[in-house]
């Protein structure tokens, strides 16, 4: 008998999803003035999970006004020590409710429970704990003796790590003394709404955190709102550019964390099996819905064949299927729109002459799925080497010398991350200095930590999130009057 794993589904009954959700403004859930609602579905089954309010202009105005009131009356006047108490409380509540939040994230996003449970949720809690610790120590952060907050932060986050991106935005904003209006992505609003419940549970003063749901138009109204002091956006480069145009000429402070097309560079002295783990984690983690994904694999030609054979063998062990099954490695693509984009780009890869390969794996009938895919014979000229696919698709290129690896890795409009695999320490340091990328991983990939700043070069955006550097994005560092 072969050793097949029996289904091991995480229990869905641990979460209560309401049939509809209002907007979280001023500390309570309220109906949208427009009266409009939209559906959010489970991308693995296409089942409707809930209906969520669509915020219009009047709602955005109300949310910003609530944030302004909370800033003026409460939050900006509170000592850092007292702010820290609230943030620590939020962090503890997230830990206590982590199983529920992980299941909810998996239902709404499609990512495997193994990742939401073992990666997303621990990092979410860690971000709140880390920033809670900063709240009463900002004068030691290197931004002057008494750094001031900015005011109301408008934050728009993507669907790939819904709750984690919320944590990256909300935790530093609150720690630095700002109040927040946050808009989660329209396909993954549920964990942000659960976070609203946590804010209530933590007794956070009303209006310090406001969560409004809606699509791109709601996001546009929020970032263009005149009473906003800070705009933070994570998402596509295209939308990021539009936001930068909208913010130009205002006093709003801006950070953008946009797309990427990271090179994962494997030298011939690297332990191949271990590098393969990094490559797999780099591009197939979270179905490749990762802005810093290692989507371009650069293999030194002398080990290219061996590495490709190992990679393909490893990919045949990936388990695609029910995201709630604890043994699933690859979950569902987040939306039909994203699936079409991946299909369009992979079709262009084939049309342009690259060679496509996927392991044989059964694709479920319902929901949105894409098998882990490798393209070989890719050149810098191919669209799949230049454009961000944001799916489980790896483009493999080769190089001969370190200089060539550097040139190819940097030959992209993006500059978010890079990976270097070699046993030689001096080469790691030399390569890291040459990389035009905000994050460089050596002999690992996709490792995150709240103490480490994250952000890009070039069209991957600007500003940093996490670490001491990330605090600067939410403090008045230009005008310390």
């Amino acid at each position: 008998m072969p050793f097949d794993y029996a289904p091991a589904p995480e229990s869905r009954s641990i979460v209560d999803i309401e049939s509809n959700y209002g907007l979280f403004i001023g500390g309570s859930f309220i109906e949208p003035t427009s009266g409009g609602f939209f559906k959010t579905i489970n991308p693995a089954t296409e089942e409707v999970l809930s209906e969520v309010a669509e915020a219009g202009q009047a709602d955005v105005d109300a949310a910003v006004a609530a944030a302004r009131r909370a800033y003026d009356k409460t939050w900006s006047k509170m000592s850092g020590k007292d702010r820290a108490k609230y943030i620590f409380r939020i962090a503890r509540l997230i830990q206590e409710r982590s199983r529920e939040l992980a299941v909810l994230e998996t239902l709404d996003n499609g990512k495997p429970i193994r990742e939401s449970r073992d990666v997303d949720l621990p990092l979410v809690a860690a971000h709140f704990f880390y920033h809670a610790g900063w709240a009463d120590k900002l004068e030691f952060a290197g931004y002057g003796p008494d750094p001031k907050s900015l005011g109301v932060a408008a934050q728009v986050i993507p669907w790939n790590f819904p709750l984690l991106m919320l944590a990256w935005k909300v935790a530093p904003a609150l720690a630095c003394g700002n109040t927040v209006v946050l808009k989660p992505a329209e396909t993954t609003p549920l964990t942000a709404l659960a976070f609203a419940d946590i804010c209530q549970q933590a007794g956070l003063p009303p209006g310090v955190v406001n969560i409004i749901t809606g699509a791109g138009e709601t996001g546009r109204m929020l970032v263009e709102h005149p009473d906003v002091d800070k705009v933070a956006f994570t998402g596509s480069t295209e939308v990021g550019k539009a936001i930068q145009r909208a913010v130009a000429g205002t006093k709003k402070k801006l950070t953008l964390e946009l797309g990427g097309k990271a090179a994962n560079i494997v030298f011939d002295d690297a332990p191949i099996d271990q590098a393969i783990e990094g490559i797999v984690n780099g591009i197939y983690f979270n179905q490749g819905h990762v802005c810093c994904a290692g989507s371009r694999l650069l293999l030194q030609e002398s080990v290219a064949d061996e590495a490709l054979a190992s990679l393909k063998r490893r990919l045949t062990t990936l388990r695609l299927g029910d995201p709630l099954d604890k043994n699933t490695d690859i979950g569902a693509i987040n939306s039909s729109m994203q699936l079409s984009k991946i299909e369009e780009l992979t079709a262009s890869g084939e049309a342009e002459g690259a060679e496509r390969w996927s392991p044989t794996c059964a694709i479920p009938d319902k929901g949105f799925w894409f098998p882990p895919t490798v393209f070989t014979n890719v050149t810098q000229a191919h669209r799949i080497a230049r454009e961000e696919i944001f799916g489980p698709v790896l483009s493999v290129l080769t190089f001969r010398t370190p200089e060539e690896a550097v040139a190819k890795a940097n030959n992209t409009p993006f500059g978010l991350s890079a990976g270097i695999w070699t046993e030689k320490g001096s080469r790691i340091l030399w390569m890291a200095n040459q990389m035009r990328a905000g994050i460089v991983w050596a002999n690992t990939f996709n490792r995150f930590d709240p103490t480490s700043p994250f952000g890009g070069f070039k069209e991957s955006g600007f500003g940093r999130e996490g670490g001491v550097q990330g605090l600067g994005a939410y403090l008045n560092v230009e005008d310390p009057s």
């Binding site: 072969p2 050793f3 794993y5 332990p271 783990e277 984690n281 062990t317 604890k326 990939f445």
Partner: protein, 284 residues
């Protein structure tokens, strides 16, 4: 990332129901039931042999273990007890330290085989290995293999003394090229003994060796594996690294003593639907 990350991820696999029943029986059939103590006696060994043949005397469907593993001087007693129903493994070559002259090591091996051992668990000379004298380690394995005759040779790397993954990888290849039938993590006398990452590395080595030479080498994880949960994690790692071909007692073994009773308790639980307790398995 790498070995430890991969091993940690595989350790999160959740094995339930039928897969678990199968895994527990498979794990029992892979156990080298071991006693390697200064206080070992004929009586102790006879009791162990009875346990090896019928791990759960209340349930005839329970498989026997793979082998009984003892010191060389107890091989004759062991063979007399088990007949040819399970393998008899003897530790040899001045186990566990390996510090003896070559002649003594070869005599140790030949005597065990003559007394009826059909598997020899030898230790490598870690001193020579760490001094960079790989040729000495290699030639010793070749000589012991020859002394084994038809007996299967398991080569103990003692990974807890080799310390680095690079060393373990090198020692694995050395042993395989010198003629080992199995490579084995540890004596059980040094901590850490078997770990998931080190066993993963050795599994990758046997997989690559099979790819390059066509020869399949077995792997034995020994020492420190105490629970069914641990054992199942090893089986998951075997399946996802080298595949189903290694999921049998000819290709993968556990060197253990207390593990067996935990497997038996889990087996009874899967059968009866409730835990029985330590008094419902025998302590031999």
């Amino acid at each position: 990332m790498g070995l430890e990350g991969r091993a940690a991820t595989l350790a999160t696999r959740s094995i339930k129901k039928d897969s678990k029943i199968w895994a527990i029986d498979t794990a029992i059939s892979m156990v080298d039931l071991t006693t390697l103590e200064g206080m070992d006696t004929d009586g102790k060994v006879r009791a162990l042999c009875a346990k090896a043949l019928h791990p759960d005397p209340t349930d005839p469907t329970c498989p026997a273990v793979a082998a009984v593993c003892v010191y060389g001087d107890l091989v004759a007693t062991t063979r007399a007890c088990v007949g040819d129903r399970v393998h008899v493994a003897a530790v040899a070559t001045a186990f566990p330290s390996g510090r003896a002259s070559m002649d003594v090591k070869l005599m140790d091996t030949k005597q065990a085989v003559a007394d009826g051992a059909d598997e020899i668990d030898m230790v490598i000379d870690r001193g020579a290995f760490l001094a960079g004298n790989y040729a000495k380690v290699f030639e010793e394995i070749v000589a012991v293999k020859e002394a084994c005759g038809d007996a299967h040779l398991k080569v103990i790397l003692e990974t807890g003394e080799l310390k680095t993954y690079d060393n373990v990888r090198r020692a694995s290849w050395l042993a395989m090229q010198a003629g080992a039938d199995f490579i084995k993590t540890s004596t059980g006398k040094v901590s850490p003994a078997a770990t998931l990452p080190v066993t993963l590395l050795m599994l990758e080595a046997v997989r690559d060796f099979a790819d390059q030479t066509g020869t399949r080498i077995g792997v034995k994880a020994a020492g420190g594996i105490k629970t069914s949960k641990d054992a199942i994690r090893y089986l998951v790692m075997v399946k996802e690294t080298v595949g189903e071909d290694w999921l049998n007692p000819d290709m993968f073994r556990f060197g253990a003593s207390s593990l067996l009773n935990d497997l038996l308790m889990q087996r009874q639980r899967m059968r009866d639907g409730h835990y029985s307790g330590p008094d419902y398995v025998t302590i031999d």
